[in-house]
């Protein structure tokens, strides 16, 4: 399962990022690291970006890149 398949309100743990090293680095620096917990806050229409909560920060990521982030859903 990837970030893109999450439903709004769900929480998940990041497992792995399948993407070029540049994208990996960008995600890593903003807190999307394997082991981190995220919550999907909203998804913008027309295949727009997803807004995630990581810690107390809100992070917007494009769909393309979201599809490369493998996650594991967490029970609430």
């Amino acid at each position: 399962m990837t970030l893109r398949d999450m439903k709004v309100g769900q929480k998940a743990k990041i497992i792995k990022i399948d993407k070029g090293s540049y994208a990996q680095r960008r995600l890593f620096e903003i807190g999307l690291v394997p082991g981190a917990e995220v919550k999907l806050l909203s998804r913008h229409p027309f295949r727009g970006p997803l807004v995630l909560q990581i810690g107390n920060a809100k992070i917007a990521v494009g769909r393309g890149i979201a599809a490369s982030v493998k996650i594991e859903l967490l029970e609430n």
């Binding site: 990996q24 027309f46 920060a57 917007a60």
Partner: protein
């Protein structure tokens, strides 16, 4: 002695420095406000300390322009102390950089900023526990309330920074590999292109240490009741309602701009008229009668009308609206809302920030393109800025050309939008690249009026130091050229310009004047007898033409001469193509 402020984007580095030194570095509520290193002098117990404000970075080891300038500063300046500014509400991520900085061997003092906001959110941080883990002094700070300032000054006064560090061996400079190419293979122009897998063991370990530290030192109390600002933020961040609201705000801002020009024109003219008569009278009295006197006595009063009645209110309003957008945190919300639209142009959502800054003035906007994630995207944004975006002064004077000649406003607006679309489409094809959109949305904040005011002052001061003198000078030159008949030398071009663009030779000269400064060009038109059709074509060509001289200088600095030449070729072709096409399709 030299001290550097380093930290994640938008944590308040510049605010801390302004609070400490009373400096007035631009502060805004979006990541990427500062893109350059700025040096400020600070006097502490009769010693001068150089304090460097730096662009926000998430990691020293990432590629990118911001990281490059920070690393360059660390290498070239003899930094004796790093003030690591961290966001109290987001320690887990901020501390990753802290651990990187601790490895450098330069003494670090951790300034936990925005502690006021953390308290409101129910976050409690124990500085003693934090110090015991980081082996470095920790100061709880608020740039807004001034909390922690005394402690910070005391640290700076003590002078012997190495002594403040607990860990033995720390504080002595060790050789650190900050080589700019480092682990990232080749270096593209200005950008380090990573070639290996970018995240290594050390990175993951630091991330883990940061997470553990954050957990250990913070206590999450039950968050107080939701403040109303947070409620508004939830509405604005709604994917549908929020976007509609944002677009409505943009429309409202535009309307407000037009209305304020319209409303202020009358009163300003009333005040200006007697002043102008006096100036004209004085000039013809003082100067011996002759051509100089007759030109000046007409050109000077005339040259004051447009700057004061139209450009001044336009610049004021644009500065005010821009500052509010920046300080509330609305600007980055446009980045998210317009991300899809941007992908059509081959740029990610961040492009909104430099493009909208361009409406204020395009020169600093070119610098702000550094926040674009790749060289290709950066070039696209610089090109769009150079060709399509009109600055406040240009907007003002274009408006006066439109009303003077009854030019066709819808034609002008539609042409500009069509050009933006076509240009973006072409650029995204010739400079392909997958856009990686990852962007941190800052919390919505109430604008601090003192900050808004100081930014308006800085932006608006350009009216008196640059716009007004240049427009006045230009008006005098045009008058002189017309009275002396020198403008006639362009008459040979008349056949050519009429055939191609349907405009007189003098109007074409105006288009070429955009090389110096775009807002000067429409002034030439105002002195010519033009039909509405001619005015429409000429003003559209001016609106879609060359970047002005200051923008060109900045472009060379940022992306090199080759980049500028490409932009110029595109700008010339766009302007001419627009003229020819309009000449073909507009009815006489």
């Amino acid at each position: 002695m030299a001290v550097a402020l380093i930290g994640n984007p938008n944590v308040g580095k510049s605010s801390v420095l302004n609070r400490l030194c009373g400096s007035s570095i631009f502060v805004s509520n979006y990541p990427g406000t500062s893109v350059e290193v700025t040096k400020t002098k600070f006097n502490v117990v009769n010693r001068d300390v150089d304090i460097y404000d730096t662009p926000g970075i998430y990691s020293l080891h990432s590629p990118g322009e911001e990281q490059r300038v920070v690393k360059e500063m660390l290498k070239s300046e003899d930094i004796e102390l790093i003030l690591n500014i961290v966001d109290a509400t987001n320690l887990e991520r901020n501390l990753v950089l802290t651990y990187e900085l601790l490895e450098l061997g330069i003494p670090v003092v951790v300034v936990v900023n925005q502690i006021d906001r953390a308290r409101v959110m129910g976050i409690k941080i124990d500085p003693r526990k934090m110090r015991s883990l980081l082996h470095s002094p920790v100061i709880l700070f608020s740039a807004v309330s001034g909390e922690g300032l005394v402690q910070l000054i005391r640290v700076l006064e003590s002078g012997d920074f190495a002594a403040q560090i607990d860990k033995p061996g720390m504080g002595k400079k060790v050789a650190v590999d900050l080589s700019l190419s480092g682990r990232y293979g080749e270096r593209g122009k200005g950008y380090v292109i990573p070639t290996e897998t970018s995240i290594n063991e050390a990175d993951l370990e630091r991330a883990k240490k940061a997470r553990d530290t954050a957990k250990f030192v913070t206590t999450q109390m039950k968050a107080g009741q939701k403040i109303w600002l947070e409620r508004i933020q939830n509405i604005l961040d709604h994917p549908v309602i929020g976007v509609v609201l944002l677009l409505f705000f943009a429309y409202l801002g535009f309307l407000l701009l037009l209305k304020s020009i319209e409303l202020s024109e009358g009163p300003i003219s009333t005040v200006l008229e007697p002043v102008n008569r006096l100036i004209g009278h004085l000039i013809s009295e003082i100067l011996p009668s002759g051509i100089v006197s007759s030109v000046l006595s007409k050109a000077v009063p005339e040259g004051l009308i447009i700057p004061f009645t139209i450009i001044m209110p336009a610049m004021l309003m644009v500065s005010l609206l821009m500052s509010i957008l920046e300080d509330t945190g609305l600007l980055p919300r446009y980045s998210v809302a317009l991300e899809r639209a941007g992908s059509f142009f081959g740029v990610s959502g961040q492009a909104v920030i430099p493009l909208s800054l361009g409406f204020g003035c395009r020169t600093p906007a070119i610098l702000a393109t550094r926040i674009m994630p790749s060289e290709a995207e950066r070039f696209i944004v610089i090109t769009l800025l150079s060709i399509v975006i009109p600055c406040a002064a240009t907007l003002g004077i274009m408006a006066s050309v439109v009303s003077t000649f009854e030019a066709y406003l819808p034609v002008i607006v539609l042409t500009m939008l069509a050009t933006l679309t076509i240009l973006g489409f072409i650029l995204s094809r010739i400079m392909p690249g997958e856009s990686v959109f990852v962007y941190e949305l800052p919390p919505l904040r109430l604008p601090m009026w003192s900050n808004v005011w100081s930014k308006v002052k800085v932006r608006f001061s350009g009216f008196f130091t640059e716009v007004l003198p240049l427009l006045l000078l230009m008006n005098i030159i045009i008058r002189a050229l017309m009275e002396s008949g020198l403008l006639n030398i362009f008459h040979d071009m008349e056949n050519f310009t009429r055939f191609l663009f349907g405009i007189p030779a003098e109007a074409f000269v105006a288009v070429l004047i955009t090389i110096f400064q775009r807002y000067l060009a429409p002034l030439v038109l105002l002195n010519l007898p033009l039909t509405p059709r001619e005015a429409t074509i000429a003003i559209t060509m001016i609106a879609l033409s060359l970047p002005c001289l200051p923008v060109m200088v900045m472009t060379v600095r940022e992306i090199g001469l080759k980049g500028l030449i490409k932009v110029l070729i595109m700008a010339f072709s766009t302007s001419f193509a627009v003229g020819i096409i309009l000449n073909c399709i507009l009815p006489f």
